[in-house]
């Protein structure tokens, strides 16, 4: 799906900026969401000899006065995709990291939702590395990194991430 189609189906959003690059949008049910992209310089564990603009992505309900759990909203994935594309356009060498919240054991559902959002704008422009990190029988984390395919250092970045996941020594 191209940017124009995504924006047509999206809610309008506002870039607040700040240290953690905040964006906001509001649904037709008047539920406000905030998205942040926080610089994550620890991610590559000093394995790369060049700087990487890596960002952790988080989305959270900021205001919900409806007293109801947010229902499925068909425009929301488009709003998230629009915001991702807006931020990605600022620098093609950016790397995005998403970890699914595992505090309530609903991380698998969150992973499926994240994949649906990414499906909207992926095209052939991105490489996604999905990792399931199992800590114990009951604790597992799902994380993903997204890198643009035209990032000139893509193979070094992907290899560094795979090395960290597998605990290979530098």
């Amino acid at each position: 799906m191209n940017l124009e189609e995504i924006q047509k189906n999206s809610y309008p959003f506002y870039f607040i900026g700040g240290q953690n690059n905040s964006y906001v949008f509001v649904t037709d049910s008047k539920i406000s969401y905030e998205i942040k992209f926080k610089s994550s310089d620890y991610l590559f564990d000093n394995r790369l000899d060049f700087p990487v603009s890596a960002y952790e992505f988080v989305i959270e309900v900021a205001i919900n006065d409806t007293n109801k759990k947010p229902a499925t909203d068909s425009k929301m994935p488009f709003a998230i995709a629009s915001i991702f594309m807006d931020f990605f356009q600022k620098n093609k060498e950016q790397v995005f990291v998403y970890i699914c919240d595992s505090s309530d054991s609903r991380q698998e559902a969150r992973r499926r939702k994240f994949n649906q959002w990414v499906e909207l704008f992926k095209g052939d422009k991105f490489i996604k590395v999905d990792t399931k990190i199992t800590e114990s029988e009951t604790i597992a984390y799902y994380n993903s990194i997204l890198i643009r395919t035209d990032n000139p250092r893509i193979s070094a970045i992907v290899n560094a991430f795979i090395d960290i996941a597998n605990d290979y020594q530098k």
Binding site: V26, E34, I99, D101, K128, T131, I133
Partner: protein, 59 residues
């Protein structure tokens, strides 16, 4: 899109995942704090008006 899928239980990956979860919790808390600011509420009200205007145009 090319997707690479991995599974791991390496201590390094677990430590990284825990650190990311801590960072995520801090950001979630930051969002709750943002929502209390008058500037934030002003932006939200503007977005609500934009949504209404857009819905009226679509009718």
């Amino acid at each position: 899109m090319i997707t690479i899928t991995m599974e791991t239980s390496s201590p390094k990956a677990i430590a990284l995942a825990r650190r990311m979860m801590e960072s995520k919790k801090l950001l979630q808390q930051e969002i709750k704090e943002d929502a209390k600011s008058p500037e934030f509420l002003k932006i939200i009200n503007q977005l609500i008006l934009q949504n209404e205007s857009r819905r009226n145009t679509e009718k």
